[in-house]
C-alpha cells in the first residue's frame, strides 16, 4: 500500500516553500516599486515531477519553484532608448536656443542690433540736415557706440553659448566614459553569473539596462545582445564602445594627432574640441581617430549641431556648420560691412590717385580729412591698410584677426571730427569743405535703404542692414520654434515609450497586494494540510 500520509506532508511542505518564495518575490517587487529601471519579477511555479517511475496511482508530487522571470520586452527597451536619445538632443537644443533668442528680443525694451541701427541712421539723417550742430554730432557718436555695443554683446553672447556647448560636450564625453566603464563591468558579472550558475542575473541586468538608457541620452548607440549575456555597444559608425568586459575610453582634445594645421577656432577665438579615441596609447605618441562627426543624437549630438563642426583644414570659425555659427556669422558679416562699406562711404573716394598725397573727399567741422581707412568704425588691432586705406573685406583678416564683431568700436570720439562734409567736385587739387556741409551724412544716410550682399565663410545673404537683421531674427525664431516642437514631440514619444515599457515591466502595487493575499491564503492552506496530514498519522498511531 502506498503511504499517502507521507505524500500529504511532502507536498504540503513543498507548497509552503513555493508560496513563501512567491511572497518573498512579492516583497522584493514591492520594495522596488519606485526603483528606476527595475523590472518586475514573476515566480514561475510548476508541478513537481517525480524522479523515476512512480508506478500505481500518481496523485502528483506537489509544486516547485521553476524559474524567476524578468518581465521585459527587448523591443520596448530599444524604442525607449531611441526616444531617450531624441529627447536628450531636442531638450538641450531647445534650452540653448531659448537663451539665444533672448538676444533678439522683440519687446523693444532692450537694445538690439536692429533698434540701434535705426536710431543710428536717424542720428545721421538729423546731422545731415544740420551738420554744424555739435549736439547732433555727439548724438551720431553716441548712437554709433550703442550700435557697436549691441553688435558686441550679441556676438559675444553667441560665442559664449558656443563655448558652453563645447564644454558640455567635454563633460558629457566623460559621462559616457563612466557609463561605458560600468556597463563593461556589469557585462563581466552577468556573463560570469549566468554562465556558471545558469541563473538570470536580474539585478545586474536591470542596472545595465538603466545605464544603457542613460548612455542613449548622451548619444545614439547601437546595442546588440550577445549569447553570453553581454551587450555590444557601438557608436553610429560602428566604433565599439563596449565589447564584453572591455570599455574604450573616449577623449576630447583641441590638438588631435590627425590635425595638420591650426585647429578650427571657436567664435570666441578659442579652439573647438574634437572627440577622439587613442587607438594605440602604448606607442607613446597619440594616435587619434576622429569620432566627432560619428556621434549623432543624444545631448552630445544636439550640442554638436548647435556648436558646429569644422574640418581641420578650415581655420575660420565661420566655415563651420551649426546653428550658433550661422547666427554669429550674420552678426559678424554686419560688423565687417560697417568696417568696410560704411567706412568706404565715410572716407569717400580718393581724390588724388598718386601716392603719397592721397586725399579723402570728406571733411570734418574744421575742414580736416580723415586719414585712415578705418576712420569711423574701427576694431582694436586694425591699422590703416595703406595708401588712403579704403579697406576691402579681404584686408580685414590680413591682420590675423578673425572676429571683428566682438571688438568693433567707434574711432571718432570728438564730435568736431565727424566728417559730415563732402567735396563732390571731380578730382579737385585740394578738397575744400564748408562747415555747414552735410553731404557726406546724406550719402551715409542713403546706406540705410541700400541692399548689399553680406558674405562670410560659407554663408552669404542679401539685404539692407536692418533687413538682414530682421532676417536673422526670423532665422533664430524658426530654429527656436522648431526646436521647441521637436522637444515636445521627443518628450511625448519618450513618455509614450516609457509608459509602454512600464505597462509591461513596472510594478503594480494592486497586483502585488492581490498576489500577496492569494499566496498568503495558499500558504495558510498548505500549513493546514500539514496539520491534517499529522492528524491522519495520529489516527493510525492511536489505532495501534
Amino acid at each position: 500500500m502506498t503511504n499517502f500520509s507521507a505524500k500529504i506532508l511532502n507536498n504540503s511542505v513543498g507548497a509552503l516553500s513555493a508560496q513563501q518564495a512567491v511572497i518573498a518575490n512579492t516583497a522584493n517587487n514591492i520594495a522596488n516599486v519606485n526603483t528606476p529601471g527595475y523590472t518586475r519579477r514573476v515566480v514561475d511555479l510548476q508541478t513537481r515531477v517525480a524522479r523515476g517511475n512512480a508506478g500505481g496511482i500518481n496523485i502528483g508530487n506537489g509544486v516547485e519553484v521553476g524559474r524567476i522571470l524578468r518581465i521585459t520586452d527587448a523591443f520596448l527597451e530599444r524604442s525607449l532608448r531611441a526616444a531617450t536619445a531624441d529627447r536628450g538632443s531636442a531638450n538641450v537644443q531647445n534650452d540653448m536656443l531659448g537663451r539665444l533668442q533672448e538676444l533678439f528680443s522683440l519687446t523693444g525694451e532692450r537694445q538690439t542690433i536692429g533698434s540701434t541701427f535705426t536710431s543710428f541712421f536717424t542720428a545721421i539723417n538729423d546731422l545731415a540736415a544740420n551738420p554744424s550742430n555739435i549736439e547732433l554730432r555727439s548724438n551720431v557718436i553716441a548712437r554709433a557706440n550703442e550700435l557697436t555695443g549691441a553688435i558686441q554683446t550679441t556676438y559675444n553672447s553667441i560665442a559664449s553659448l558656443q563655448t558652453e556647448a563645447d564644454q558640455r560636450i567635454i563633460s558629457e564625453v566623460q559621462n559616457i566614459n563612466s557609463l561605458s566603464g560600468q556597463i563593461a563591468e556589469l557585462n563581466a558579472r552577468i556573463s560570469a553569473a549566468e554562465g556558471a550558475q545558469g541563473a538570470i542575473a536580474g539585478d545586474e541586468r536591470d542596472r545595465r539596462e538603466l545605464l544603457l538608457q542613460q548612455l542613449s541620452e548622451k548619444a545614439n548607440v547601437s546595442i546588440v545582445d550577445q549569447s553570453d549575456g553581454t551587450v555590444l555597444v557601438s557608436l553610429s559608425n560602428g566604433f565599439p564602445l563596449v565589447t564584453g568586459a572591455t570599455a574604450r575610453t573616449l577623449a576630447t582634445t583641441t590638438d588631435p594627432s590627425f590635425a595638420t594645421g591650426i585647429p578650427p577656432s571657436s567664435l570666441g577665438g578659442g579652439v573647438l574640441s574634437y572627440i577622439v579615441y587613442d587607438y594605440d596609447p602604448s606607442s607613446g605618441s597619440e594616435s587619434h581617430i576622429d569620432l566627432t562627426q560619428n556621434i549623432t543624437g543624444g545631448t552630445i549630438g544636439g550640442l554638436l549641431e548647435l556648436r558646429g563642426y569644422n574640418d581641420v583644414a578650415n581655420t575660420s570659425p565661420f566655415n563651420a556648420t551649426g546653428t550658433l555659427v550661422e547666427v554669429a556669422s550674420r552678426v559678424e558679416a554686419i560688423a565687417r560691412s560697417l568696417l568696410v562699406d560704411f567706412n568706404q562711404t565715410y572716407v569717400g573716394p580718393d581724390r588724388d590717385g598718386s601716392s603719397p598725397n592721397h586725399q579723402s573727399s570728406s571733411g570734418d567741422l574744421d575742414g580736416l580729412q580723415p586719414t585712415n581707412g578705418f576712420a569711423f568704425f574701427n576694431a582694436a588691432g586694425l591699422t590703416d591698410v595703406g595708401t588712403l586705406g579704403l579697406a576691402q573685406t579681404s584686408d580685414l583678416t590680413a591682420s590675423g584677426l578673425r572676429n571683428f564683431a566682438s571688438i568693433i568700436g567707434v574711432a571718432v570720439t570728438d564730435p568736431r571730427r565727424v566728417a559730415a562734409a563732402r567735396d563732390t567736385a571731380v578730382a579737385p587739387a585740394a578738397p575744400a569743405f564748408s562747415p555747414g556741409d552735410g553731404q557726406n551724412m546724406t550719402l551715409l544716410a542713403a546706406m540705410q535703404n541700400t541692399s548689399r550682399t553680406f558674405s562670410i565663410g560659407s554663408y552669404s545673404f542679401t539685404g539692407t542692414y536692418e533687413g538682414s537683421y530682421s532676417e536673422t531674427v526670423t532665422k533664430v525664431g524658426n530654429e527656436k520654434s522648431s526646436a521647441e516642437v521637436a522637444a515636445k514631440v521627443a518628450e511625448g514619444s519618450y513618455e509614450a515609450a516609457l509608459s509602454r515599457r512600464d505597462e509591461v515591466s513596472a510594478v503594480s502595487l494592486d497586483e502585488e497586494f492581490t498576489n500577496l493575499v492569494k499566496f498568503q491564503k495558499a500558504y495558510q492552506a498548505a500549513a493546514r494540510m500539514i496539520k491534517v496530514g499529522g492528524e491522519l498519522l495520529d489516527e493510525v498511531l492511536r489505532a495501534l
Binding site: 522683440l106 539723417n125 545731415a128 540736415a129 564748408s434 525664431g477 509608459s499
Partner: protein
C-alpha cells in the same frame, strides 16, 4: 487588458500638473507683460515684428525732423514777404523820384530811405535761423552778403557802400533734409540768385537818386557794378539821372517777378509737400503700429479667458491627483 503600474500613474499625473502649471504661468505672463510674443521663437513672424519696430522708430525720426523743417520753411516765407514789402516800397519811392517835377535835392532826400531799404534787404539776406545763415549755403562762418570794395564816388556815406555776395566754398550749395525714405525736401535756396538782383537794384536806385552814376550804366545789365560811377552835374545830367532811376525800377521788377515771387511759391509748394509727407508718415506708422499690435501684443480678453481655463485645468488635475493616488486595493483588504 492594459496593465497600469504605479510609476506610470504618478508620472502621468505629475506631467499633467506640470503642463497645466506651465499654461497658467504662460497666460499669466501674457496678461502681466501685455506681450504674447516676446522672443523670436514665440512666433513665426519674428522678422516681420522686428521690421515693423524698425519702421516705427524710423518714422519717429522722420516726424521729429518734420516740425523744425516746417518752421524753417515758414521762417523763409516770412523773409520773402518782408523782402517783397521792401521792393514794393522801393518801387513807390522810385516812381516818386522818377517824376521830373522834383529837384535833385528832393531826389537826394528820397535816396536816404532807399539806402535804408537796401540795408534792410541785406539784413534779410543775412538773416540767421538757429545760428546758421539762411541764405549762406553750407558756409556757416560768414554772412552771405558783406560790404565789398566800396564805390569810388562818393568817398563816404551810404551811397559809397557796396554789398556783394561772398563767394566761398559751399556758399551757393543748397541744403536738403530727408523727410521720408527716399524723399528729401530742399531746405534752402541759393542766396546769390535770390537777393543779388534786388540788392544791386536798390544800390543803383539809391545812387541814382543821390546823384551818382553806376557802371555799367545800362540796366537791365545785371553785371556787377564796378564802382567807377561818377557824379551827375545838374541841370545838364538831370535827364540821364531820370533814366537811371527808371532803369533801376526794371531791375526791382525783375527781382520781384523772377526771384521773390517764384521763391515764395516754391516755399509754399515745399510746405504743402511736407503736409503730404506728414500724412503719409502718419498713415504708415499707424498701420505699422496696428500690425505690430496684432502680431505681438496680447489680446487681454483672450489671455484672461485662457488664463482662467488653465487655472481650472490645474485645479482639476490637482484634485484628481489626490483622489487617484489615494486609490489602492490596500484600503480594501
Amino acid at each position: 487588458m492594459t496593465r497600469v503600474s504605479e510609476s506610470q500613474l504618478t508620472r502621468r499625473i505629475v506631467l499633467d500638473i506640470v503642463n497645466n502649471h506651465n499654461d497658467v504661468v504662460k497666460y499669466g505672463e501674457e496678461i502681466s507683460s501685455g506681450y504674447k510674443v516676446k522672443n523670436p521663437g514665440d512666433s513665426d513672424q519674428g522678422g516681420t515684428i522686428s521690421e515693423f519696430r524698425n519702421t516705427i522708430e524710423r518714422i519717429k525720426g522722420y516726424k521729429a525732423r518734420l516740425a523744425p523743417t516746417r518752421s524753417f520753411l515758414t521762417h523763409q516765407d516770412d523773409i520773402m514777404a518782408q523782402a517783397i514789402d521792401v521792393v514794393n516800397r522801393a518801387r513807390e519811392l522810385a516812381s516818386q523820384g522818377a517824376n521830373e517835377t522834383i529837384s535833385p535835392a528832393e531826389r537826394e532826400t528820397i535816396s536816404r530811405e532807399v539806402f535804408a531799404l537796401r540795408d534792410q534787404m541785406v539784413s534779410l539776406a543775412n538773416s540767421t535761423y538757429q545760428g546758421r545763415y539762411v541764405y549762406g549755403g553750407n558756409d556757416d562762418d560768414d554772412p552771405p552778403f558783406d560790404a565789398g570794395t566800396p564805390y569810388a564816388v562818393p568817398s563816404s556815406g551810404s551811397a559809397q557802400t557796396r554789398y556783394v555776395f561772398d563767394n566761398e566754398t559751399g556758399s551757393t550749395t543748397t541744403r536738403s533734409v530727408n523727410v521720408a525714405d527716399n524723399i528729401s525736401v530742399r531746405l534752402t535756396s541759393n542766396g546769390n540768385t535770390i537777393f543779388s538782383g534786388a540788392i544791386s537794384g536798390l544800390d543803383r536806385l539809391g545812387r541814382a537818386l543821390a546823384g551818382f552814376r553806376t557802371n555799367p550804366t545800362n540796366p537791365p545789365s545785371t553785371a556787377a557794378p564796378d564802382g567807377t560811377g561818377t557824379a551827375y552835374t545838374f541841370p545838364t545830367d538831370y535827364e540821364e539821372q531820370t533814366q537811371a532811376i527808371e532803369g533801376s525800377i526794371d531791375l526791382l521788377n525783375s527781382a520781384m517777378n523772377d526771384r521773390f515771387l517764384p521763391e515764395r511759391t516754391d516755399l509754399g509748394a515745399r510746405l504743402s509737400r511736407l503736409d503730404t509727407v506728414q500724412s503719409m508718415l502718419d498713415a504708415t506708422s499707424q498701420s505699422a503700429e496696428d500690425s505690430l499690435n496684432s502680431l505681438q501684443n496680447a489680446d487681454s480678453v483672450n489671455s484672461i479667458t485662457k488664463f482662467q481655463q488653465a487655472q481650472f485645468a490645474l485645479q482639476a488635475s490637482l484634485q484628481i491627483s489626490s483622489r487617484v493616488l489615494n486609490l489602492s486595493v490596500l484600503d480594501f483588504l
